[in-house]
């Protein structure tokens, strides 16, 4: 069996994997991405609401909010053509009786503290909401990205940078060879193949621990959820509107540009099942997704959403996208969204990277620079 040699192997061709590969290319010659699916950005990078965070979402985690504030302008300028145009973003703050963890004054103060632009929403938007449940509605500066445009952009960037991409390549094993080298075994079109490199990056999100298990390494504590994003057609006056209700078991409705509809998620109804990785990976997450048919919770999401926004009674369900959502267990407590950048002592040149938000990628790139730049130097360019 032929063993092709690379400088770095990135496992997982989602947005993070692509960005990591592009950044690695700045430091080394031969970089390859191994992607299990038929193409790039087909899994969690696609199956999410496409929110480019600007801090508003984390009134209870100042650090996460500040990181988002820093990363937002970088993402927006770098991927300008992948962003949805003309959508107005609103955050409605619920009343305490309706179980909100922040009130309007706190939310506004928080936004001012992290420097996030916030103004009272115009009357026609405020009037959409039920005043019994919603205390105040704010207009904010957030964006939605189009996952399909982002996919095309990443494919082009990788092509330009001459990063090799191998799709339908399902990694099944990893072993250390010749000292600092790692051999990665994968199955591709029914054939077993192997590649080797001095650096391997595990950017597989919900499959992070599967990969670690394939390398014979202990699992990182991760929490997974089988998440449903409902797709709905909204009445015309909502077509260019993104609504998020804060801060509790509430819903969020945003345009979903790849399909020309809106995506609807609900803190209470989007997670269908959740589990922790304990020791070796125990739940077959991929199997859960194949389990057909997955029953939608859209009725629940819509019924609750209609309590807040009456005009959603005219929304029409068109389908759902399902994905395994993965978070670090600590995020459950303080609402923070730190990135994971972890290596095991026994195989230090295998790095597991995981983040919950697309704009977190700059934190990952910063860590990569720290690994490869000579000490003391700092990369100044924001781009990949």
């Amino acid at each position: 069996m032929e063993l092709i040699q690379y400088d770095a192997i990135v496992i997982g061709g989602g947005f993070f994997g692509c960005c990591v590969a592009l950044r690695l290319k700045a430091y080394m010659e031969r970089v390859v991405i191994l992607e299990k699916e038929d193409g790039l950005l087909l899994r969690a990078s696609y199956a999410n609401q496409g929110r480019v965070h600007n801090g508003y979402h984390y009134p209870r985690s100042l650090l996460t909010a500040l990181r988002s504030r820093t990363n937002f302008p970088r993402f927006v300028s770098q991927y300008a053509e992948c962003l949805d145009q003309g959508t107005d973003h609103y955050y409605a703050v619920c009343k305490g009786e309706a179980m909100s963890k922040v009130n309007a004054t706190q939310f506004r103060t928080f936004c001012e503290r992290v420097g996030a632009p916030v103004t009272r929403a115009p009357k026609e938007i405020r009037d959409l909401f039920n005043p019994d449940l919603v205390e105040e509605v704010f207009q904010v500066r957030e964006r939605v990205f189009d996952a399909v445009k982002l996919r095309q952009r990443m494919a082009k960037d990788l092509d330009d940078a001459r990063v090799e991409v191998r799709v339908r390549s399902d990694v099944v094993g990893m072993v250390r060879i010749n000292g600092a080298q790692i051999r990665v075994d994968f199955r591709s079109g029914g054939r077993s193949e192997s590649v080797a490199a001095g650096h391997v990056f595990n950017c597989t999100y919900s499959r992070t621990n599967r990969l670690l298990a394939a390398a014979g390494l202990p699992a990182i504590p991760l929490k997974h959820e089988l998440a449903e994003i409902a797709l709905v057609e909204v009445p015309p006056h909502l077509s260019k509107v993104a609504l998020t209700i804060m801060d509790g078991p509430f819903m969020s409705l945003m345009p979903f540009p790849p399909r020309g509809v809106h995506s609807l998620t609900h803190v209470r109804y989007t997670p269908h099942r959740s589990w922790l990785d304990v020791g070796q990976t125990s739940v077959d997450a991929e199997g859960l997704l194949r389990e057909k048919p997955l029953e939608t919770s859209c009725v629940y999401m819509l019924k609750d959403a209609q309590r807040y926004v009456r005009s959603l009674e005219d929304a029409r369900y068109v389908g759902s996208i399902w994905e395994i959502k993965t978070v670090l267990p600590q995020s459950e407590v303080d609402d923070s969204r730190p990135i994971l950048f972890a290596r095991d002592r026994s195989l230090p040149n295998l790095v597991s990277v995981m983040g919950g938000k697309i704009d977190n990628v700059y934190d990952v790139l910063f860590e990569i620079d720290k690994c490869f730049l000579p000490t003391g130097e700092v990369r100044v360019d924001a781009g990949v």
Binding site: E37, Y46, E97, K303, G319, S320
Partner: protein, 350 residues
């Protein structure tokens, strides 16, 4: 709304129900599961000090469709129900105490609500099992409220009720601190129906009120919902004041004419006693109302929620029968299939 899309919520206030909550939950879900495609059971813990919350938390891991709302302390049954009503998402909302004997009646009650009645009152056909004083007291109370005060109060209505979304929304707009759900349900109007039921023997009321509690409840209901008692004592005071004015005139005339007024001490004692009893009665009634005004005028939230927990098993994952799936497809009105972009992104289509 197609009936198959109808979501039924059940609101149950819990207070130190550690011993019975598991049996009750399994009884309710046993009724809801075969009857409704979409439902939720909202349990409101009204500051229980026993293991109620632990018991329910354990159920959340295995039983689907439960939400537990924990109030920050004990607020009372009516406030607990109010917090549940503001949290439910259902098109029809069943309100009940954790009395397993009633759960069998849920489908029939909901059917009546679906038939166009916004408020379906559960009414106890007889007060069997109640002590005699309570039966007599209750009849007097209802007679007084309905005939004397002209209150719209559904007779012998229990906490067991079904409300439409329209009625729930109307009730939620009433911000009264003293809440009596059956009176609010009657007050908001809409179409109502009475559903008489008889508890099977052995399935008695969870508990019967004591004398003091029953009296307080009766006074509370009257003071909150009617100002006629004020008017009554007002009229009484006016009448007595007229009488005493006449008596004053009589005494004055006698004195001017230089006549004796008879044995003075008897009259004085009678007058003093009579006037004091009247004044004190007026004061007692007034003070009840003044207290209410103070309570109602304080702009405080009705309750505080400590946390909400939800079943970790979602209702929609339990694999519903094909019957429901089939009926959903017929009334879906052209739901189209979501394409999955050629990838194993999973798409659910109804």
């Amino acid at each position: 709304m197609p009936e198959s899309d109808c979501l039924v919520s059940v609101v149950v206030p819990l207070s130190n129900d550690e011993a019975s909550v598991e049996a009750f939950v399994s009884a309710v879900t046993g009724v809801l599961r075969p009857n409704y495609a979409y439902y939720e059971l909202v349990l409101v813990d009204d500051g229980s000090s026993d293991g109620t919350v632990d018991k329910v938390s354990a159920l959340l891991a295995t039983v689907e469709g439960i939400r537990l709302i924990r109030l920050s302390r004990k607020f009372g049954t009516e406030i607990a129900i109010a917090s549940g009503l503001s949290a439910v998402i259902g098109d029809f909302v069943v309100v009940m105490l954790p009395e397993p004997g009633l759960v069998e009646l849920i489908p029939e009650m909901v059917r009546r609500a679906q038939g166009g009645h916004d408020v379906v009152f559960g009414v106890r056909r007889s007060r069997r099992g109640d002590p005699r004083w309570l039966k007599v007291g209750a009849s007097f109370f209802y007679w007084f409220c309905i005939k004397v005060l002209g209150l719209d109060i559904p007779q012998n209505a229990s906490e067991f009720q079904v409300l439409s979304r329209r009625a729930v929304n109307a009730i939620l707009q009433i911000k009264d601190k003293y809440r009596y759900l059956h009176i609010l349900s009657a007050y908001v109007g809409y179409v109502r129906e009475y559903f008489a039921y008889e508890l099977e023997s052995g399935h008695g009321r969870r508990r019967t009120r004591g004398l003091v509690e029953a009296m307080n409840l009766a006074i509370g209901i009257i003071v909150t919902n009617s100002i006629r008692p004020l008017r009554l004592v007002g009229w009484l005071a006016a009448c007595v004041s007229a009488l005493s004015g006449m008596y004053f005139g009589y005494v004055a005339v006698l004195r001017i004419l230089g006549r004796q007024t008879g044995e003075a001490w008897g009259t004085v004692a009678l007058l003093t006693a009579g006037m004091f009893s009247l004044v004190l009665m007026v004061l007692a009634v007034l003070s009840e109302y003044v207290g209410r005004i103070l309570d109602e005028s304080r702009d405080r939230p009705l309750y505080h929620i400590r946390e909400e927990k939800t079943s970790s098993v979602l209702l929609t994952d339990r694999g519903r029968g094909n019957v429901v799936m089939a009926s959903l497809q017929t009334d879906g009105g052209g739901l189209r299939e979501a394409s999955s972009q050629g990838a194993p992104i999973q798409t659910a289509v109804r």
